[in-house]
Each structure stands twice: as C-alpha cells, then as structure tokens.
Symmetry: C2
C-alpha cells in the first residue's frame, strides 16, 4: 500500500487530536485514503511538556528543520495559532515543497491573499476546512458540493463561545458577566474571550465563507460587527415575549447592488432552525438558486471535531483532491477581480428591535413614533409593561422600559433615528438597537 508521510507543526489541543486520529486509527484512515497516512514528525516548542497523546519514539521534535529538510514529508498540518510565527512557518513549509492543512482562521483572514498566491506560485495547496465551523464541513460543501449554484444567502452561528453564553443567559436569565465566568470554568471561553464575544472571530470566518460563496474579497475588519458583550438579559426576555431568541448571527446576502455582510446579535424567530442552535454548537444555512436552502448543524470547535476536519483535509491532500480544487477555484487570486463588492452599509435593510427607557410623560410614545416616522420607519409592535413594585412595595413609575419592533428599514435610517431618539429629553440613557431576522 502507498504511504504518505505527514507532519504536524504545533501539538496543542487540535494537534494532539490529529495525532490521536492518525496514530490510533491508522486502518480507518488507510481505508479512506487508499494509502497509509504515516505521522513521521510532530514539531513542538517544548519537548518536556506533558501532552494527552503518546507519540512513538522519534516523532516529536522541537526542530522545524526536521520537517523542512525531510523530502519524504509531503503534507503538513500547520496548527500553530496567531499570525506570527505561523505565517512565516507556513511560507517556509511551502517553499520546502509541503502541501499545507491548517485550522488557523485568523491567519487566513489576515494574510489569505499572500499565502494563497505563494502556494499557487510554488505549485502547492492550502486546505482549511478546520478554519471555519470546526465539525461542519462547510468549506467543502460550498466549494464542491454546491458548485452548481449561485449562492444567494449564507447565514450562521459561527462562534460557539458566544452561542454558549447567549444560550445560558437565555435559559437561566443570568447576567453576561456571570455566564462568561461559567463559560471560562467549563473551557468554552478563553481567559481573554474578547475576539469571540466582540464578533471578530465570527467576522473572520464570514470573510472566508463570503469569498468561497460569493467570490468577494473583503477584509474581515470591513464587516460591520457587534458582539454579544453588551447584551442585557432584559432584551432576551422581551425577545422571547415577542416570539424570538437572540443569537449572534453572521450574514452574507447577495443583493442586486452588492453583498450585505454583518455580524450582530439578532432576533431569530422561535422554532426556526437557527433559533434552536444551543450551547457550543454552530449552524450554517446556505441558500442556492438551484438547491434551495441547505442547513448544517454541528460542533463548531473542540479538539476532536476540529481534528476531524484537519484529518479529512490531510486525506484529501494526500489523494490529490485538494490540489485539483485549489487549482480549479483559484481562491484569493489577484488576477481574478472580486465578483461582488460589499454593499453600502447604510442601505442594509432589515427590521429592528429598539428598547428605550422612557420617562413617564404624557405624549412620550407619540414623540418617539414621530421621530421614527420622520425617518420613514414604521412600527410593527410595541411592548410597554407597568413597572413592577420595588422591594419596598412601592409602584415604580419612572422610567418605563419601552420596546418597539419596526417594519423593514435601512440601517442608515435606523441608526439616525436611534441617535435622534437618544437626544429626546424624555428618553434616558442609550437606546438598545438589535437586528431582527425576517
């Protein structure tokens, strides 16, 4: 039987999972690859650090040259996180003739065009299924399985940490900070969860998917994004009263005049698939003009789901499928102009949820409705409850929370109306404004 020699660079959580699959399930991998996938080297920073995988003698090394200089190693899983030295190592590996499999989404989001150009120049390939939505094979599905379609919409829950936090806040009515602590204890959130909760991670994944699905070349930082870090349990409660659940939704929609992209906490109708995505799961809904809607749901992160994607890519690369796909689709090529451009943000259309604190003055609602009318935004529903008695049993009258759901409006109009409402003397504090999924 043929043999492909594989190396892993970076033996963290995912790297250890990849090593386990290659070492413990060689027969299975061989069956699916039609060849032995032989783990020849694993490059680590510290040889003495304890790991949850036992490597055969001679596999572990702290010297990258053991991989670079070994012509028998043709495929490398590059699993170092961050931008540097990950970028430099990936370039070195490709220059040494290795095909690359990576899970490093931040690296691709930042340096994708450079790395893909270099790969093409050198006749190498980069596979990156594991970079987006871990266990959901969305890269292969868009690039190959749905290749007969013009994709019109792609929307999903792409960040498991955020979804875990929002799910917990929703289920238990807990405050954001308390749930973040719980998520950190359970390993669902990192010590510094900023990139997950502020929408950066989801925007980086969306930028990659938008390139595959729409041929758009957009830097993640140009995608308008709001995280879940400011979310108030009150908004989860009101949403549920209105028949919605709040989720951090990443959306790409091809409109006639450009591509609408956004990452934002969004009210999703209860009972629809995205609303039912719980805890650390990810989900993606793709609409193609031929296939119609296709929905994917699976674990978006974690050691073995991500390792599953890496090993599938290692097999695809070893058998030659990756090379064909990589050459055919010409990802991030500078000679192909982007097929679609991002649409002017102000023109993104959607419905909005607004929550205000309003003083108890006659005509307050009329004043607010008037501002919305000036911006041609019409109201679809309103919630205003009597205040609960305070702990001393005193009826609270001032301020009262007022929740307004609008009909469809442009993002620009909604933003300007919100700013104007915040300037009204009867309105206290900032207005909470969230998108509502149709």
């Amino acid at each position: 039987m043929n043999k492909t020699n594989v190396a892993i660079v970076g033996l963290g959580t995912v790297g250890s999972g990849v090593a386990k699959l290659l070492l413990d399930h060689g027969d299975r991998t061989a069956r699916h690859a039609g060849r032995t996938m032989w783990l020849k080297k694993a490059v680590v920073r510290d040889l003495n650090k304890p790991r949850d995988v036992e490597l055969p003698d001679g596999v572990a090394t702290d010297n990258l040259a053991d991989v670079l200089d070994d012509p028998d190693i043709t495929v490398v899983a590059q699993l170092i996180g961050g931008l540097e030295p990950a970028r430099t190592i990936m370039l070195q590996l490709m220059e040494a003739g290795k095909d690359i499999v990576t899970a490093n989404k931040a690296l691709l989001a930042e340096h994708g065009p450079e790395l893909f150009s270099k790969a093409r120049e050198l006749g190498r390939s980069i596979a990156f299924e594991a970079a987006v939505a871990g266990g959901i094979p969305i890269v292969a599905n868009i690039s190959q399985c749905l290749s007969a379609n013009q994709i019109t919409t792609l929307e999903g829950i792409l960040n498991g940490t955020s979804n875990f936090i929002v799910s917990q806040m929703d289920r238990y009515g807990s405050a954001y900070d308390d749930v973040v602590r719980k998520a950190q204890e359970l390993g669902y959130a990192e010590a510094d969860p900023t990139m997950d909760v502020d929408g950066t991670d989801a925007a980086q994944k969306l930028a990659i998917l938008a390139h595959l699905a729409f041929g758009a070349t957009i830097h993640w930082s140009d995608i308008p994004r709001t995280g879940i870090d400011g979310l108030d349990p009150a908004d989860l409660r009101y949403s549920s009263e209105l028949g919605y659940r709040i989720k951090l939704v990443a959306t790409a929609h091809q409109a006639d005049d450009g591509l609408e992209l956004s990452v934002a906490p969004t009210l999703v109708p209860l009972g629809t698939p995205l609303a039912e995505v719980r805890d650390a799961f990810n989900a993606i809904r793709v609409v193609g003009d031929a296939v119609g809607p296709v929905f994917y749901h699976g674990l978006g992160a974690g050691q073995m789901p991500t390792a599953s994607a890496v090993v599938a890519d290692l097999i695809d690369t070893a058998v030659g499928r990756t090379k064909i796909t990589f050459q055919t689709l010409a990802y991030f090529t500078s000679d192909h102009p982007a097929r679609t451009k991002q649409r002017d943000t102000d023109r993104l259309a959607g419905r909005y949820y607004l929550r205000l604190s309003v003083g108890n003055h006659p005509g307050a609602l009329a004043k607010i409705a008037d501002v919305l009318a000036q911006h041609e935004i019409s109201i679809s529903s309103v919630i205003q409850h009597e205040n609960q008695p305070d702990q001393a049993g005193q009826q609270q009258t001032d301020p009262v929370p007022l929740v307004i759901m609008t009909h469809e409006a442009g993002e620009g109009a909604a933003r300007r109306a919100t700013e104007q409402i915040e300037g009204l003397s009867i309105v206290q504090g900032p207005v909470v404004r969230l998108r509502v999924k149709a």
Copy 2:
C-alpha cells in the same frame, strides 16, 4: 479555457433541470470547474415531446449511438429511471469510455455491485450524489468530509413524499387517504406512490448510505421496513400528547455485534431536529466518533435540487476528483469483504409505543401488563382516556383505546409480546406497534 463535453441521457424532470443549469449558467459552471462544461448531446425518447428547456440546434437526439460513438463526450449524466434499459445503457456508456453521473437510486440499490465492478474494470467512475437525498450532499459528506471518523449512527428522513404526508396528517388531523390525494394533486406523490409510502425508497437509500458509512454490503430488501401507509391519525394525536411526533425514520446504528438497520414510522421527541423536518424536506443526522453529531437538512427531491447534485457531480468528474474518490474508496468491491454485517433483527433494541383497543373488563390493564412482564418489557407510561360521548350523547364505554410506552426492549421480545396481547380475548383487533427514538 479547457472544455469538457457532456451528454445527458434521459431528459425528464431532472434531466431538463441539468440542461438548464449547463445552458443558462455556463459562466458559473466554468468558474467552479475551471473549464467549460459543454452540453453536446441530450438523448430523448421522443424528439417531438414538449419540454421545459430549450436546447440549441443539434443537441437533442433520439439515438444513443450519437453519444456512444462520439469520443469527445467523456462525461454522461445518465438520468433514465427504473432498472432496464437504464442498466444496459449504463454498461454501454461505460464500455464506450464515458464516466457516469446518475440519480438512479433504485438501479444502484439493485445492481450497484455489478455496475461498480464494471466501472473499475474499465477504469471508469460512477458518481451518484443525486441518488440519495437530492439537495443534501450526503454522499460527498460521508465519503470525503467525514473521512476521519468511524460513523456510529446515521439516521434520517430520506423520503420526502412520506414526510409530506405525515406532516399534513399531523398538522390537520387528516386521514391518510385524503392526504395522499392532496399530495398527488400538488405533485409530491406519484400516481402510484407505493414505493415511497411503503418504505422501499427509504430502504434503498439507506442501503447505499450504510455501504458508504459502514462498509456494509446489504441488499435493501433485507432491511426491515414498515411504511406510513397504515398510519392512523389517532397515533399522531397520542404521540403528540406524549411529547413526540411520528416520522418515517431510516436508521443505521453500529452496535458491537453488527449493524442495526431499519425503516419505520418512529416517535421522535418534539423539539429535536428530526421532529421539526416538515413537508417534502429531508434530513440526515450522522454521528462520528471524532466529529460528534452533524445534522443536514434540505430538499430531498424536486427538479433543481436534484439537478444541483447532478451538476456538482459532473464538475467533480470533469476535474478529476470523482476518479480519485472512486478509486480510493472502492465502493462495492467484491474483493473487500463487507466490514460489518447486519445484526439479528430480534436483537434490535428500542422503546415501543403500543396502541390497543381494550374491552371494558376489570383487570384488562393487569392482563396486558402481565404479558409485557413475561417478555421482560417494562412500561414507561400509559394513556387511557374516557371515551367521548357518541353523536347521540351516549357515553361510549367499549372498547377503550389504551396507549402504552415501554422502556427499552428487544425487537423480538416486543413482537412476541404484541402477538400474545393480540391473542387476549379482551383485546379487539390488531395492536399498533411503533418504535420510539431515544
């Protein structure tokens, strides 16, 4: 740009859809294939029959030899249904050097081993994404995307017609026959819907998926199957009262001592993804030992979803990916023994829903419970309502419907207990027995 000449044999609903995608979206297909996909011939039975696609001059022919004898045509979408002449034509095409893309699931379920052996012998490939679950690319997902996994469970709603009928019965409380007529009017059921509603179609699809996922070589007719054709709206009502929805579920589960396979109306817990699959949609849940659960939902049939799968396969075949996969995975090879065998049906374990008509005799429930106990089947819940008054206002007392949910039991024990209960003098008519999903 390179060009691949393609032919379609059989220009029915799906064939016309494939022609539309190739003719109307040549730029898109070229982008995804890195080459022009040129529809050179479409073989039809009757050149004068009106069709919903307009073919350029010279493309339509009623002579298969125009394809067989044209060496420039290398890839053929063989879209004739049924077993013959589909089988003979496929063999002729392969002998003439063509790679095949097909949507004919019945043909593969019946003659897969012969056709795949012939393809290998001749150095040809057969792609068949469209044969199972139309718009859900489950074949590629199992064969490639999840290749790092041992799949442990695969379960799904694989027949859109049945699901449409059950969904409608459930929503409107309608009788089976009425809904079948409606489904026929709407085009969701054929004039003779037998193969769809009796579980044959789902069993054929399951046999193909079980081969891909578990290396099992099982003839579809050996899969125990029950259709939805005998379903009583009363059982949908009681199921809902118990917190379940009835779906026609196809299941393959790898147990220690073999593969459990079945197609049967099954009580699925409300709120779980399979329970929420409506109308003509299909869904498949795959559990892999590394990736965990992955859930797919999409349109299982229809012109364009199926054409989407065919065209993706045409592209994969033209660029060379299909050949690699076909050679690597060696589907249905007689020299590889099946990796797993079907488990003895009697040992399939599961929970059961039983509905009986019981005469109003003291001790009736005790007698029934006693039979279950003899077979070591324990009861998890019971529903027995008072009868409704009849139209004349008379309280009906005899017989009373009795619904029993059991804890886990073997299929053999459940069947024998059911037969014994049917023999009790207090029980009238047959006992309805349905599986319950954990």
